[in-house]
Assembly symmetry: C2
Homo-oligomer: 113 residues x 2
């Protein structure tokens, strides 16, 4: 299968880890430095760094280094493709439901004649 949506795959993969989701939730309340993010996870710094780079490569966060401190911030628009995919999926599903409804309606009309 062609990988038509590398973005979506990256995004969903980034979101599939509880640690990464908790980092995002934390960041939703405001930017934070690396150590600050690592602290509540109970994980070692290099491990958290890895999570952060997964998030950054997915475009979910942006980071910048000032002096020796790296500050991380959420990129809220990054979730748009996910939302869009969900909406599209629901749209197709609903279209199908509509067609099914039409079909049932048609059946009932035919029956009532």
């Amino acid at each position: 299968m062609a990988k038509h949506d590398p973005d979506l795959s990256l995004l969903f993969h980034a979101l599939s880890d509880p640690t990464r989701r908790s980092i995002l939730t934390r960041l939703a309340e405001g930017p934070a430095r690396v150590t600050e993010l690592a602290d509540p996870t109970g994980l070692r710094l290099p491990t958290v760094m890895r999570h952060l780079s997964v998030l950054e490569e997915a475009g979910l966060i942006a980071t910048a280094k000032d002096g020796r401190v790296r500050t991380c911030a959420l990129v809220p628009e990054a979730l748009t493709p996910v939302r869009t995919w969900l909406d599209d999926q629901r749209a197709i599903w609903e279209a199908r439901l509509d067609r099914l409804e039409d079909y049932v309606t048609k059946l009932m009309k035919e029956r009532s004649q």
Copy 2:
């Protein structure tokens, strides 16, 4: 970090693969048997089976076997937790924006005095 949301992890992981997403999109148009789903992927049956069981374990599809044919169907409500998580995330983000706005408003008031 405690894994408070095994469901979400399963769901996001299931959605992180293009093949699996394409299967879901196909299923959104109506139920299908395994071979039918395998066909357009260009993958071997066992591989597709694996994808299907990932989708099933995440609760995204339901399958039933009739004779030697297994039919797969979408479970559209399964996406609800994902949608909820996205909404929650956005809510926190917007709350933060509001607080920021309040702060700015306050600053401006102070300044104008």
